[in-house]
């Protein structure tokens, strides 16, 4: 059986095992880390950074998801957070969505699968890293920073990696490095190094790199 390509890694903070299982069944193309408390989530974040955090509001041990939001943001500011809640009043939802430690989305229970899929797609594509890149660029423009090559290279590299991730996420097809290099106006080495970074961070499966290497060797 063809192994399902992994589109990303989700940290699920949910106290109900059945619900957790349903999430995992509904999104088999993600790898899941499931914890039941905010404390455990913080520990998991220190170990490995996910692409997305799915946070239930009411947790085990009397913990509240929203209470952990600042902590999670401080550990992983660039990772999109989707809060799922059955009880949040409008005011609480707005509170969760506002301020420096805001979540990106609040989804009300009962969860509609289609809506959740859309939300996760959008969050992966445009939030998190994408936001960070946009913020950096806007900052460069606004502050008129006389950015040196190194700084500019970092921002561009981050943006490129995000674009690559969005393009290759969930795909097992071999990326055409030459085409990508032309597209991003960089040399193939840079592309390869970006892919290496993404694989190292666990955001892309290592197979891509392996095949890439094979392809490269075939090319050469």
């Amino acid at each position: 059986m063809q192994p399902t390509p992994i589109r990303g890694h989700v940290l699920l903070i949910e106290d109900n095992p059945v619900q957790a299982r349903l999430y995992q069944d509904a999104f088999p193309d993600f790898s899941w880390t499931w914890v039941t408390t905010g404390t455990a989530a913080v520990a998991a974040l220190a170990e490995h950074l996910p692409d997305l955090i799915l946070l239930d509001h009411v947790l085990d041990a009397g913990e509240s998801g929203l209470a952990f939001l600042p902590k999670l943001k401080s550990l992983a500011a660039h990772i999109p957070v989707v809060v799922v809640s059955g009880t949040l009043a409008i005011a609480d939802q707005l509170r969760a969505l506002s301020g420096p430690n805001a979540a990106h989305y609040v989804i009300e229970k009962p969860v509609d699968l289609d809506r959740l899929e859309q939300t996760i797609d959008t969050a992966l594509r445009e939030c998190g890293l994408g936001e960070a890149v946009a913020a950096l660029r806007s900052l460069e423009r606004a502050e008129l920073i006389e950015a040196g090559d190194r700084e500019r290279l970092f921002t561009e590299r981050l943006a490129r990696q995000h674009a690559l991730l969005n393009r290759l996420r969930g795909s097992t097809a071999r990326p055409n490095i030459s085409q990508l290099a032309t597209e991003f106006s960089v040399d193939r080495r840079s592309i390869r190094r970006d892919l290496q970074d993404l694989v190292t961070r666990g955001q892309l499966p290592p197979e891509i790199l392996a095949r890439e290497d094979e392809a490269n060797s075939r090319d050469s």
Binding site: N16, V18, Q19, L22, Y23, D25, A26, V58, V84, S85, G86, T87, A89, I90, A91, L94, R95, S98, E108, K109, P110, V111, D112, L113, D114
Partner: protein
């Protein structure tokens, strides 16, 4: 009645005693007045009697010693007596006047007295007259005076018997007074009655003079000395027309009888002409007594009035206390209701969470199954039913959450008819089909600053409730208008002068009194289990929102005819708005609108 009112009116026992005292006083006053009147009457009667006797005595005296031109004086006396009291029997006095006239005109022939037109003559026999009698039919007058008896036929003789002091007399010479005027001798069938006058001047039988055996008196004549009486008798029924004619004549000397008169105390012998004529000064007795009675009545009336005013004050105090107690009770109930709602809010939030978790699992599982199996036919239908059930569950939870949810909507000036029209349009197809919906915006409805979303929620709940109460048949009437009188509200509105009023009337079965106090309780429903939307939260939501927004709720219902809910929205918004409804400054953005569900 709640105990509070007792403590507010501590003088109750004193006032109850005062009430008893009041009745006692009234009774006493009535008795006193009655006894005064009675006493006055007694006094008056006594006085009157004395006056009358005196008058009669004076008349007699005047008659006993006739002087020329005395007639006017006697007439005056009689007139006084008549004025004294209308029911005084004046006949004897009247006859006295006639007798006087008879006396006073010695030159006239005795058969032509001037007697014809005395107005005081009764139409009956005046048997108690001492020297005159009128026939019952008024046609014959008999005069007894000066040792003579005169019968004056006015028309023709009467066949009726003639009596003096109850003694039937025998015509033609019946009776005579003696010269001193002390006695009347009257012929009866077989004897002669000697009459004397008692104190009141009425002739009474003094002694009966019986002629010898087989003799019957037929005529009388007094000796001028007034002591001797000659009786002409008939023997064995043989009539004797004149005393001088043949037949036995018996002479009675009544001098020896005079000793018997001592005990009789003859009334007119006490007559004293020097006594002052009694004029109506007698009335002063009545005036005095009446004035006294009126004074007492006035004092008593004043006391009663004062007491009544005290009682009224007391009753007002009691009423005020009752009103305050009722108010307190209402406030307590409202408070209890609010506390219940708050507790339910907390509970509802908890329930909602669990419910949503369960629903979430069901919903997701259903979608996963659908995706995995792509069923068709009956299984697909079943999955669809699951989906619908989840959707209903979601609606239910949302309505429960209405209890714990804060709102952060701003109030804006709104035209009430716009809102009602919108709500009616929204509901029309799904809920109001089959009903006759009447909307009346003709009344002037002021614009009010109101949280439109919440007002809509109130209207939705009320309209759906009304529609369900009618069960698809009937008339739903919605009227908007402005009012300055909120009437008797279940929930009094904020504001104090003007309100916009929305009334929603249905022609449903009405609300029975036994469930009336509970209809605004959360989870109270009359809809049978299994019916749709029987969450029992509709009216409770209305209540909660109205309470927070300062709306008033008024309810008129009558079983079998329908119910009318009125929502009163204050035109002037209380400032600031309810704490729950207004965001805390600084912590939240100021203008956030709650998305419409």
């Amino acid at each position: 009645m709640p105990h509070a009112s007792h403590s507010l009116v501590p003088t109750l026992p004193a006032l109850q005693r005062a009430r008893r005292l009041y009745w006692l006083l009234t009774a006493l006053v009535v008795m006193l007045a009655a006894s005064c009147l009675h006493l006055g009457d007694q006094l008056r009667q006594t006085r009157l009697e004395g006056t009358r006797s005196n008058l009669v005595a004076q008349v007699r005296f005047a008659l006993a010693s006739p002087r020329p031109n005395q007639e006017p004086r006697i007439l005056q006396l009689i007139e006084s007596a008549r004025r004294l009291r209308s029911d005084v029997d004046l006949r004897s006095e009247a006859t006295t006047v006639l007798a006087f006239r008879f006396h006073d005109r010695p030159g006239r022939r005795t058969d032509e007295p001037t007697v014809c037109a005395n107005p005081v003559f009764p139409s009956a026999w005046s048997a108690n007259a001492d020297n005159i009698a009128l026939s019952r039919d008024g046609r014959i007058i008999r005069l007894f005076a000066n040792n003579d008896c005169l019968e004056i036929p006015i028309d023709r003789p009467s066949s009726r018997p003639f009596r003096i002091a109850g003694i039937p007399l025998t015509p033609p010479r019946l009776s005579m007074t003696n010269a001193t005027g002390h006695f009347i001798a009257a012929i009866t069938n077989d004897s002669v009655a000697l009459l004397a006058f008692d104190r009141s001047g009425t002739p009474v039988e003094f002694v009966r003079l019986s002629p010898q055996r087989r003799r019957r008196p037929v005529a009388l004549i007094w000796h001028p000395d007034g002591n001797r009486l000659a009786i002409a008798c008939a023997i064995n029924g043989i009539p004797s027309s004149m005393p001088e004619s043949s037949g036995p004549l018996e002479i009675w000397d009544i001098e020896r009888l005079r000793t018997g008169l001592e005990g009789l105390q003859l009334g007119w012998s006490s007559a004293d002409p020097t006594l002052p004529l009694l004029t109506p000064t007698d009335w002063t007795w009545r005036y005095t007594v009446a004035a006294g009675a009126i004074l007492i009545a006035c004092i008593a009336g004043g006391a009663i009035l004062i007491h009544r005013s005290i009682l009224r004050q007391y009753e007002e105090a009691v009423a005020a206390a009752q009103a305050r107690a009722a108010e307190l009770e209402r406030a307590r109930e409202t408070l209890a209701h609010a506390e219940k709602l708050r507790a339910l809010g907390t509970l509802a939030a908890g329930i909602a969470h669990d419910f949503n978790n369960l629903l979430s699992i069901i919903s997701m599982a259903r979608q996963l199954v659908e995706r995995a199996l792509r069923p068709s036919g009956v299984p697909r239908e079943h999955l669809l039913h699951i989906g619908q059930a989840v959707e209903q569950g979601r609606t239910l939870v949302r309505s429960i959450l209405g209890y714990s949810r804060d709102t952060m909507t701003l109030s804006r000036f709104t035209r009430i008819p716009e809102v009602t029209d919108e709500v009616v349009t929204l509901l029309h197809r799904q809920f109001l089909s089959g009903l006759t919906v009447k909307v009346d915006h003709t009344g002037e409805c002021p614009r009010v600053a109101v949280n439109r979303g919440r007002l809509e929620q109130v209207l939705l709940n009320l309209l759906v409730n009304a529609a369900e109460a009618m069960g698809g048949r009937g008339t739903l009437t919605l009227i908007t208008r402005g009012t300055t009188n909120p009437g008797e509200c279940l929930l009094p509105p904020a504001g104090d002068s003007a309100w916009a009023e929305i009334s929603i009337s249905d022609t449903g079965p009405g609300i029975p009194p036994e469930v009336l106090p509970r209809i605004f309780e959360p989870f109270f429903t009359t809809k049978t289990i299994g019916q749709e939307r029987g969450t029992g939260l509709g009216l409770a939501t209305v209540w909660r929102i109205a309470e927070e927004e300062g709306f008033g709720i008024r309810l008129e219902t009558s079983v079998g005819l329908g119910s009318t809910f009125r929502i009163l929205i204050p035109v002037e918004r209380p400032h600031p708005a309810n704490g729950a409804a207004s965001p805390k400054p600084g912590t939240e953005p100021d203008t956030v609108s709650q998305p419409h569900p």
